[in-house]
């Protein structure tokens, strides 16, 4: 009995132990790479993969900037447009460290920097023998281009900012300090020069940047940088001006880009990557769920869901009184609280909607159930809005079904040829009070006359009209209104002439008014009347203390190192 028990015991143990030991898992049991995405080390192996790794640097990384910060900073702060009830901080030139768009813009530009840095590092690290040297060179150049452009936005909004080229090296390092404006400008100009040499003459894929995109940026950068050394009042640097002139001329002559015949065609769907575009953010509509690769801005600017897709929240956003007064033919009467007139400048209708204006390309679904081609409605209230037209493409039906709420596929211009003509003119003007340079007239009028305006050269009495900085700035404000440009033009001006920048800003009226057509529809003339009871918030006070944006409060509290004095890079 006892023996038998023992035997059974050993039998079981003998049987069991190997079994128990074999139950250990193989080593691969605990190796679980993601099953729903490829990991970095296995990517960047072919030309197609490397190019796919830089394609989203044209869209998604800029998304948060484009979303609301583009017009909040670019247009509200510069006085081209205003929002009557929201975003008042930006409208009243009182952007604080807590203003949402201050934070999103700051974060977004640094997302561009971070992803560009990572693309450069990963391509260098993982691209193998299968990747052609040309593709590798172009892809890295694209990433450097984006990074330099992001730094242009950073330095112009916040002044000194830290230059980062390898984020991973900084995970454990919080000693990073800001770099001086001068050295940031040096960095981005040098980067863009290097990129210019690496980029191809024709895009490697539709919509991707070329040598001419880089040269165009160089023209823009040099023009702005020419004032950086002037400390707010002084001469612009002549060699920078010469470089701006050189590069703008080169793009005009060599790029093959051309102005579209009609200004309004620039924003008439489909317009993406047309002959005038030097660089556009490459948005795409890919269904009602995807987020980040589409253009969301139209949702906030379209005046009503009448012409949108369940969105259309821009009914209280429109041109400022000051902006309306910039267009030829708009005459101020009385004590300055009424404007009356019409304009031959086609840019007004292509940028803002006046009551009674019709847009056959956009479908309007009225409350009454009537569906028609858009006629911008008339309001009887003592407050009404000249809402945004630029970039508004209407309902899904107007774009072949390719849009839904907050999701639009139309591109955002980051640089178009018209700017090259105006840069050339401004660089030619340089530090002079005015210019009568023949090429400058030609180039100026290419932009000016496209909009239907008469040639700018001789007045009706035959006297020579000189090109001054005021003339150029007015042209730029009108040409680029609602493209997020006005603010950066003012920053460029502020570098060498602070007083003039403040004077422009402080003269603007940003208050409530109403716009009335003489007849509705098909008006021939409009009357704009300031809202009598609205007396506050009509003007702003720009000065040294509030001109640049403060670094976001939340960022300062988590990165107090940004409070240290800026150093050269």
């Amino acid at each position: 009995m006892k023996m038998k028990n023992l035997n059974r015991k050993y039998f079981w143990l003998g049987m069991l132990l190997p079994f128990v030991f074999m139950l250990g898992c193989s080593k691969s049991f605990l190796q679980r790479p993601p099953t729903d995405s490829i990991v970095d080390a296995n990517f960047y192996k072919t030309d197609a993969q490397v190019l796919a790794a830089t394609q989203l640097l044209y869209s998604k990384v800029w998304f948060d900037y484009n979303d609301k910060a583009s017009y909040n900073l670019g247009d509200f702060r510069s006085g081209t447009a205003y929002d009557a009830y929201n975003n008042r901080g930006n409208v009243l030139f009182n952007t604080t460290g807590d203003t949402p768009e201050n934070g999103t813009a700051w974060r977004s530009f640094f997302i561009v920097v971070g992803q560009s840095n990572l693309a450069i590092i990963n391509i260098n690290k993982y691209a193998g023998a299968e990747v052609s040297p040309q593709v590798k060179k172009v892809a890295i150049a694209e990433a450097r281009f984006m990074r330099a452009l992001a730094y242009r936005f950073l330095v112009m909004n916040w002044g000194p900012v830290p230059i980062i080229t390898n984020n991973q090296a900084l995970f454990a390092d919080t000693s990073l300090t800001r770099n001086t404006e001068k050295s940031v400008w040096k960095f981005i100009v040098n980067e863009m020069k290097a990129v210019e040499a690496d980029l191809p003459n024709t895009p490697i894929k539709p919509g991707r940047i070329t040598k001419w995109s880089a040269q165009g940026m160089l023209a823009r950068f040099y023009l702005t940088r020419s004032g950086v050394g002037a400390n707010g009042s002084g001469q612009r640097n002549q060699s920078d001006l010469d470089s701006a002139k050189y590069y703008s001329q080169s793009v005009i002559n060599n790029s093959g880009a051309a102005l579209l015949k009609n200004y309004s065609d620039l924003f008439l769907f489909p317009y993406d990557n047309n002959a005038e575009s030097l660089f556009s953010l490459q948005w795409v509509y890919s269904g009602p769920n995807d987020w980040g690769t589409q253009n969301s801005t139209p949702a906030y600017l379209a005046y009503s869901s009448e012409i949108a897709n369940g969105d259309g929240w821009g009914g209280n956003i429109g041109a400022t009184w000051w902006m309306i007064s910039q267009y030829d033919g708009m005459t101020s009467i009385g004590k300055g609280d009424t404007i009356i007139g019409r304009t031959v400048d086609t840019r007004l209708k292509a940028t803002f909607m006046l009551p009674g204006a019709s847009y056959p390309e956009i479908t309007q679904a009225l409350n009454s159930g009537v569906v028609q081609k858009l006629i911008y409605p008339n309001s009887t209230s003592d407050v009404s809005f000249v809402c945004t037209k630029k970039y508004i493409t209407g309902k899904a039906i107007d774009v072949g079904g390719q849009s839904s709420s907050q999701r639009y596929g139309n591109d955002t211009y980051m640089m178009r040829l018209a700017e090259m003509y105006l840069i050339y003119v401004e660089a030619t003007l340089g530090n002079n009070a005015s210019t009568t340079d023949a090429t400058a007239y030609t180039y100026f009028n290419k932009v000016h006359m496209r909009s239907g305006l008469p040639e700018y050269r001789l007045s009706s009495t035959g006297t020579l009209l000189p090109i001054t900085l005021d003339v150029i700035y007015k042209e730029r404000f009108i040409e680029f209104a609602m493209e997020g440009m006005g603010w950066y033009d003012l920053v460029t001006l502020h570098y060498f002439n602070k007083a003039k920048a403040y004077a422009i800003l402080n003269s603007q009226d940003r208050g409530l008014f109403t716009a009335k057509p003489d007849v509705f529809p098909n008006p021939t003339q409009w009357t704009f009347i300031k809202t009598a009871w609205s007396t506050t918030g009509r003007t702003i006070n720009a000065y040294d203390g509030n001109f640049l944006l403060p670094i976001p409060t939340a960022e300062l509290s988590q990165a107090p190192n940004l409070l240290k004095p800026a150093v050269d890079y």
Binding site: L23, F110, V113, L118, P162
Partner: protein, 1082 residues
């Protein structure tokens, strides 16, 4: 495939297990006297008939209470000369046994019953009644990977039994734990049926990761998830639960190693009992009451307020408000939204078996309509559990459960409750023509009105269906005396389906012209394979219990989501009915795997010294090769002083001191890879890295020291359990906190790397007192009182970053902060120091500044004015008040964590009647009443928002007879109407921080078991139980919102990393529920 290096490598890893097994063998092979007679198993079946003075004894064993025969009771006999005999009772509870001699003793043991020793003397037929265990010390409790006697516990753990659970109306098991277990803080994040519940066991031990415990349901491990509209166990029928053990002490939890840092909740479902088939039917009908309305303005008050606003701020007064006295009450949106609703539950169960096989089977149907329109929960459940003993040395158990839940979450996902509180009474629910009404486009500010919440909850479809199959198979083999090998395979297969249909509608200004349907399906699979060797050995007064085991687990999930738009009718919720050109889809999947070796040694000397040691070694797929494996040891010791000879305190019946220490862990959620995310582009798919890889991060460790005391007085009439613990968590796993300039924040960003970020500590105590206050023949009064307190402190961040913020952008960037030296997620904001009463006061006080840092002017239009909020100047750039109100003056204004929480249960029974009252309490936590913040802002009248009645007393600056600007109503606390730069209503202040303490009568239940003589006439029916009850009947609180039990925000826009805690922005409230219950045994 096995290669030779792989085999040697594996061999090394087995050394650990081998050592433990060798130890076991050594003990086993030791020649001891006990071994010589080792021929009958503990619950042996074999009858040993060797001996000299044999005598046959037979008898019947019944339950002392039910008088039912008990099957499988062990009857053992130790003769005076040391020989041993034994048998078990048959199906009729009968046994017969040859005993060695008449002076021997019969020892009768049965799990769940008190042990009896009987000297049969000359009797040959015995009628024995066994009493169910009532004193808790002998109660068998479930512990990690095993069972033990409650009296032998060396670690802190709490058990809640089915009897406790039956007393309250619980849709989900988490609710049932509330107030019943010390150390367990249960908050219902949403009163929505089936809604999310948070359980924090002994504080929180993570900053951004999940703080929910590990649930183990019949061996299936389920990691609790933080944010959800569903409670983690909403699928589980509470009536199927036999017991819930909440493991808290480090020694109890460490056996679950890396999954146990947040505590472990072990749930055991009911098993069959041998005997006659028991058939039970139970039906429960509940009526749920709507919450008590908050006092918002009616239409007359609203009209008058619009009037006043326009007078102050400018603009035209709408014609209909010129004389508000002519108006009616308008729409009462709260009344429209909340209704009394029913909840019904049917439950049928069957159990029984014989000495070889037992089974339990149950089915459930539950249907709960929410008190708010657009919410509801249904559950269908089926469970089968079979245990079989085919040979004396083998048992096989199988366990299958299937359930489905259907949840309607329209209310929670559509901000419906906050909209009902905010929508103007001017808007009717429906127009005269029967269409839904809404803020119109012609009526002043009504274009800013929220969309009709009744319409939204009626029109929108937002439902989730979950189906779950849970099952397992376990085999246990007795290899030799005391040595058992057990293997089990458990699995969990879940399938989810979500439908979100946004219809086309035209409600006032709000128009949706394109209907959208989003469908999502997900499947997850989990399996767990476990092998254990258990060895039990008694040598004299020494008892050893050794367990070694190996476990491997794997899970996989896969989701598919799809959508289409352009549905031409609002009737068909299927993608096929939409426009194919708008088709859109998403995917996603992920794997997880873990392998573990575990061991436990318990040693008990004469019930006096109890020692337990555990060790677990976990390997997780979440870590890189250099950190894959982690060790989690624990040691605990208990000393039962009352067993010592010197201990002679008559009124103390039991006294046990415990000490334990141990380590648990957390393996985080992965982060060793850098996956490439995709995005659409005009040139095909684009790729961007999603996350910075960090293959080097390590296990998060929580080391806990715990001292405990169990003391019982007056023959266990009063028992007290007390624990004090210090939990130190190091190497907290979370995403690195990086400044925004690192580009890790926002759309298209690279997420920060997962790192070991910091350390935190929980210190606390818990106290449980169980008393039997009165016992007479018919009447019994018992009480359970528990109270717990825990303090959580973040002790360190390893990087230079000094805090982490959680910002809710959808609530004016309302922010919570975790910083070194305090508890995580304190509310941030300014301190509102009343209102400015005079110009002089403004000039003497700190005021906000412009961008350049200059004081705002003292001016009604462009600066600070009388009636504006006076903010407290707390600090400046140099750490001292600087006379400027800016971001330096933001501070911690509230703490969402309670200082103490507890529960108090009293049960009274008299004959067949039973009354039970449960009171729960939470003390010392703060709530941010966000609804009050928004609804007290008089400016919001301009956005067609209704307001709390108090907002009508907004500050009114006037010029008095002396020409001074003063307030017409100086005692008001509501700031003046102004959009000025002082930020009266845009800054987050402590004005809306309220004390969230409450004492609640959670439950009263009264039941009656019909007496047997009454039922005996009905042949079919064996027992009838009638019960009535009420939940949440009264709450004492200072909180002014609907319900102080706020918890975490689970509404729109939130995710695990941004989940706000302790903020009430229209949380779905808990309301009174009246219950009627009928239970019948057949």
């Amino acid at each position: 495939m096995l290669t030779f290096p792989a085999i040697t490598d594996r061999f090394k890893r087995y050394l650990f297990a081998l050592k433990l097994v060798s130890l076991l063998l050594l003990i086993n092979l030791m020649p001891t006297p006990a071994l010589a007679v080792a021929s009958v198993h503990n619950t042996g079946i074999s009858k040993v008939t060797e001996g000299t003075q044999k005598q046959k004894i037979s008898g019947v064993i019944t339950d002392a209470e039910t008088k039912q025969p008990l099957v499988g009771v062990s009857v053992a006999n130790l003769s005076t000369n040391g020989q041993k005999f034994g048998t078990v009772t048959d199906l009729n509870g009968k046994f017969s046994l040859d005993v060695a001699d008449v002076n021997s003793t019969l020892v009768i043991t049965y799990i769940g019953y008190e042990k009896q020793e009987i000297k049969p003397g000359t009797s040959t037929f015995l009628s024995i009644e066994l009493k169910p265990v009532t004193t808790s010390l002998n109660e068998v409790v479930v512990i990690g990977y095993g069972k033990t006697r409650r009296g032998d516990l060396t670690s802190a753990q709490t058990t809640v039994t089915s009897k406790d659970l039956e007393r309250t109306v619980n849709t989900t098991v988490e609710q049932a734990l509330q107030g019943r277990a010390a150390g367990v803080y249960v908050t219902q994040n949403s009163g929505q049926p089936g809604g999310g519940i948070s359980i924090n066991i002994r504080g929180v031990s993570s900053i951004n990761g999940s703080t929910e415990p590990l649930y183990v349901v019949d061996g299936v491990q389920i990691q609790g998830q933080s944010v959800s509209n569903n409670s983690n166990l909403s699928w589980l029928n509470t009536a199927d639960i036999e017991s819930v053990s909440v493991l808290q002490g480090p020694s109890a939890t460490a056996i679950y190693g890396s999954r146990a840092t947040n505590g472990v909740v072990l749930i055991t479902t009911k098993s069959g009992k041998a005997g006659d088939t028991k058939l039970t039917y139970d039906v429960q009908y509940n009526i749920q009451e709507p919450p008590k309305s908050l006092h918002v303005m009616n239409l007359r008050e609203y009209g008058s307020m619009v009037n006043q606003f326009k007078t102050v701020a400018g603009g035209t007064i709408p014609g209909q408000f010129l004389d508000p006295t002519l108006l009616g009450n308008g729409t009462d949106w709260q009344h429209e939204l909340f209704k009394a609703t029913p909840m019904i539950k049917h439950q049928l169960s069957m159990s029984g078996g014989n000495d070889k096989t037992t089974y339990f089977m149950s089915g459930e149907y539950m249907n709960q309509d929410g008190v708010a329109l657009g919410s509801g929960f249904k559950r269908y459940g089926f469970r089968l559990k079979v245990d079989n003993k085919p040979r004396e040395w083998a048992t096989i158990g199988a366990n299958l459960s299937f359930n489905q839940t259907d949840q309607n979450i329209t209310t929670s996902q559509g901000d419906v409750i906050s909209n009902a509180l905010q929508l103007s009474p001017q808007v009717p629910v429906k127009n005269f023509d029967g269409t839904w009404a809404g803020g119109d486009t012609t009526n002043g500010a009504n274009t800013f009105a929220p969309v009709n919440p009744i319409a939204i909850s009626s029109l929108t479809t937002n439902t989730n269906t979950n189906r779950q199959f849970l099952g397992g198979l376990n085999i246990s083999l007795k290899l030799m005396k005391g040595l058992t090998f057990t293997t089990s395979l458990n699995g969990n297969i879940g399938y989810t389906n979500s439908t979100y249909y946004q219809p086309t509608y035209s409600i006032g200004w709000a128009k949706v012209v394109t209907a959208t349907l989003n469908n999502g399906t997900g499947m997850n699979t989990y399996w767990n394979l476990n092998q254990m060797l258990q060895y039990y050995k008694q040598i004299g007064k020494h008892t050893f219990d050794l367990m070694v085991g190996h476990e491997s687990q794997e899970s996989k999930w896969k989701n598919v989501g799809a959508s289409r738009t352009g549905f031409l009718t609002n009737d068909i919720y299927d993608l096929n009915a939409g426009d194919p050109l708008t088709s859109n889809n998403t995917g996603g999947s992920g794997p997880w795997a873990m392998e573990s070796y575990l061991g436990r040694l318990s040693y008990n000397y004469n019930d006096r010294y109890l020692l337990m040691s555990t060790l677990r070694r976990d390997g997780s797929a979440n870590f890189g090769d250099n950190n894959k494996w982690g060790y989690f040891p624990s040691l605990s010791f208990a000393w039962r002083l009352s067993k010592e000879k010197f201990f002679n305190v008559p009124f103390v019946s039991d006294l046990k001191l415990r000490f334990e220490t141990g380590t648990t862990g957390n393996s985080g959620g992965g982060g060793i890879y850098s996956p490439m995310g995709t995005g659409a582009t005009p040139n095909g798919t684009g790729f961007l890295p999603n996350k910075y890889a960090n293959p080097d991060y390590k296990w998060e460790n929580t080391k806990t020291d715990n001292i405990g005391l169990n003391v019982a007085f007056l023959k266990n009439r009063i028992s007290v359990e007390f624990d004090y613990y210090v939990k130190k968590t190091t190497n907290l796993i979370m995403d690195a906190l990086l400044p925004w300039y690192m580009g890790t924040n926002g759309t298209g960003s690279v997420s920060p790397p997962t790192v070991n970020l910091g350390a935190m500590q929980n210190k606390g105590w818990s106290l449980t007192i169980n008393t039997t206050n009165v016992v007479t023949k018919d009447f019994k009064w018992e009480s359970n009182f528990n109270l717990s307190s825990v303090k959580t402190t973040i002790t360190k961040f390893y990087s230079n970053v000094s805090f982490a913020n959680r910002t809710s952008w959808w609530m004016d960037n309302w922010t919570q902060r975790a910083q070194v030296g305090s508890a995580p997620w304190l509310f941030r904001g300014y301190i509102a120091d009343g209102l400015f009463q005079t110009v002089d006061e403004i000039n003497k006080s700190a005021v906000p500044v412009d961008n350049a840092g200059n004081r705002l002017p003292t001016d009604a239009a462009t600066g600070v004015w009388v009636g504006d909020v006076k903010f407290k100047d707390i600090s400046g750039p140099n750490g001292v008040p600087d006379g400027k109100i800016d971001s330096y003056d933001e501070t911690n204004i509230g703490n969402p964590w309670p200082k103490m929480y507890g529960g108090f249960t009293n049960s009274f029974s008299y004959k067949g009647f039973e009354l039970s009252v449960l009171i729960t309490a939470t003390l010392g936590n703060d709530i941010y009443n966000y609804i009050a913040r928004v609804n007290s802002n008089p400016n919001n009248i301009n956005l067609s928002r209704n307001l709390l009645i108090g907002a009508m007393d907004y500050a009114r600056p006037i010029t008095d007879a002396q020409g001074q600007v003063v307030l017409a109503n100086p005692n008001t606390t509501v700031a003046r109407i102004s959009y000025g730069p002082n930020g009266n209503y845009t800054r987050i202040t402590d004005k809306w921080v309220e004390d969230g303490s409450f004492v609640r009568i959670k439950n009263i239940s009264f039941s009656y078991n019909l007496p047997a003589n009454l039922i005996s006439k009905l042949k079919m029916i064996k027992g009838v139980r009638l019960a009535v009850g009420v939940q949440n009947i009264a709450t004492i609180t200072g909180y002014k919102g609907y319900d102080p039990e706020v918890g975490s925000y689970v509404g729109n826009n939130t995710s695990a990393n941004t989940q706000a805690i302790g903020v009430d922005n229209g949380r779905y409230p808990l309301t009174p529920i009246y219950t009627f219950n009928l239970g019948v045994n057949f």
